[in-house]
């Protein structure tokens, strides 16, 4: 690189680590000091030129170039060969339909979940087996972390400043894992999302904290899925938004032996993950802002005889009336709002349900190919 790049000069690596803290360039954990040569190596491992735009955030007019992404990837601890995956994930969260501004800055505290499919998993050691959501795997930990560092450093999502998360959650440090395609009863997630078998992809999702779904007592699909649906219908996170279910291989196996397709499983979960409108009102889930929000009113009343009460009467929406017991309010708007992937150790009936960020519709899943 011949261009002189902005930075700070340090005496040694200890000073470098402290300097990054002083500048607020970290996520709270120490970062790898990004030297010119480390950044050059990272950049060279991707297909992009230094000034290529990997992500553009229109709400605040911020352009993340391959160069800036490479700096953050080095800081995260990525090996250079991970860089194409980092770039693909940035491309995905920068997709206009993902509306990154929302999940990145609202009070909802979303983590950016990255699910990896295809041969890149084995090539880079992106883990989809036991403890896939936990610490211990360099690719998982650092690819997810690179994304968060870009948000912090390039998109200004510093807590309390532009990141208005009330509480956040640890998934915000990093939440990247591989789908265990080999243990799945279905086609790989990437194929379900429209890509060809053999393509490597990343799928991103704005996730709130997950719920453990623990079942060791049944192999019946309906009984097993009833437990998942119960987690999905939790009032705390009930919304018209999306869901990701990471199905443990042991649970996936029950569905495989019963011959349940992906579509059938999604449909069943959607049908059974609901609470009555009365339940929602009892716990104050209905906010005054919903009364003038078409999406929320349609979500609440789509199963009601007569639909949305016209005109929506403030008293009615706030007060429980007899009919409300019979009105079902489902999580999400349809089976396609539920994304199923398989991952985890071969032994153990622990799956996970992740609700989407936001009390509303949230943002869609986005899948992009990982460049060669």
């Amino acid at each position: 690189m011949t261009r002189q790049h902005d930075g700070i000069d340090v005496e040694d690596f200890w000073q470098a680590i402290e300097a990054c803290y002083e500048q607020s360039w970290t996520d709270g954990l120490p970062v790898v000091p990004p030297t010119e040569s480390l950044v050059a190596r990272m950049l060279a491992a991707g297909p992009w030129a230094e000034d290529d735009v990997l992500l553009f955030e229109p709400a605040r007019n911020l352009t993340v170039t391959a160069y800036k992404a490479a700096i953050n990837a080095v800081m995260a601890g990525c090996r250079p060969e991970y860089f194409p995956v980092v770039g693909a994930a940035l491309h995905a969260v920068g997709d206009p339909t993902f509306e990154l501004h929302g999940p990145a800055t609202s009070t909802g505290g979303a983590a950016l979940m990255v699910i990896v499919n295809g041969p890149v998993r084995q090539r880079l050691g992106i883990h989809g087996g036991a403890n896939l959501l936990g610490p211990g795997f360099r690719a998982n930990a650092t690819i997810g972390r690179a994304l968060r560092l870009v948000l912090l450093n390039c998109l200004g999502c510093q807590p309390g400043v532009l990141d208005k998360s009330t509480q956040g959650w640890p998934g915000k440090y990093s939440l990247c894992f591989a789908e265990d395609e080999e243990s799945s009863p279905w086609e790989p997630l990437s194929v379900a999302r429209g890509f060809k078998p053999g393509q490597s992809t990343v799928t991103v999702f704005a996730a709130e904290s997950g719920h453990n779904v623990l079942s060791h007592g049944t192999s019946s699909p309906e009984r097993l899925l009833a437990l998942f649906a119960d987690a999905m219908a939790g009032l705390g996170s009930l919304s018209p938004g999306r869901s990701v279910i990471v199905v443990a291989p042991e649970h996936a196996d029950h569905l495989k032996r019963a011959g349940w397709s992906r579509a059938r499983t999604q449909a069943w979960l959607y049908e059974h993950a609901w609470r009555s409108l009365a339940d929602l009102k009892h716990v104050g889930k209905i906010e005054p802002a919903f009364f003038t929000n078409e999406t929320m009113l349609q979500w609440l009343y789509r199963c009601a005889d007569g639909g949305v009460p016209t005109p929506p009467d403030v008293d009615t929406l706030d007060r429980v009336v007899a009919q409300d017991e019979a009105v079902r309010v489902h999580r999400g708007l349809g089976p396609d709002d539920i994304l199923l992937c398989v991952g985890g150790g071969q032994a153990g009936g622990h799956s996970a349900f992740f609700p989407s960020w936001s009390r509303g519709r949230s943002v869609p899943f986005v899948t992009k190919e990982v460049p060669a």
Binding site: D52, V53, F56, P58, R60, N61, T63, P96, E99, H101
Partner: protein
């Protein structure tokens, strides 16, 4: 991009809609026009081939962003 920058230079706040594949070009145009970093509002491609209803959905999704780009930013 140039039309929007035309108005900005004459003291009238302007906002421009572009589609996603056009972003790198837009970044370049802004640079060349002497307004590096000028922010377009970006929507998914395509637009020209969509039905009226589909175009209106795109418009609904981006209206708030357009409004924000035309206003004075709040401090803090």
């Amino acid at each position: 991009m140039l039309d929007a920058i035309f108005f900005e230079k004459r003291g009238i706040p302007a906002s421009v809609l572009i589609t996603e594949p056009f972003v790198p070009t837009a970044v370049g145009i802004a640079q060349l026009a002497g307004m590096p970093g000028y922010p377009p509002a970006v929507i998914p491609h395509p637009v020209g081939s969509l039905s009226t209803a589909e175009v209106q959905e795109r418009a609904d999704a981006v209206a708030a962003v357009i409004g924000a780009l035309l206003l004075r930013a709040e401090s803090g």
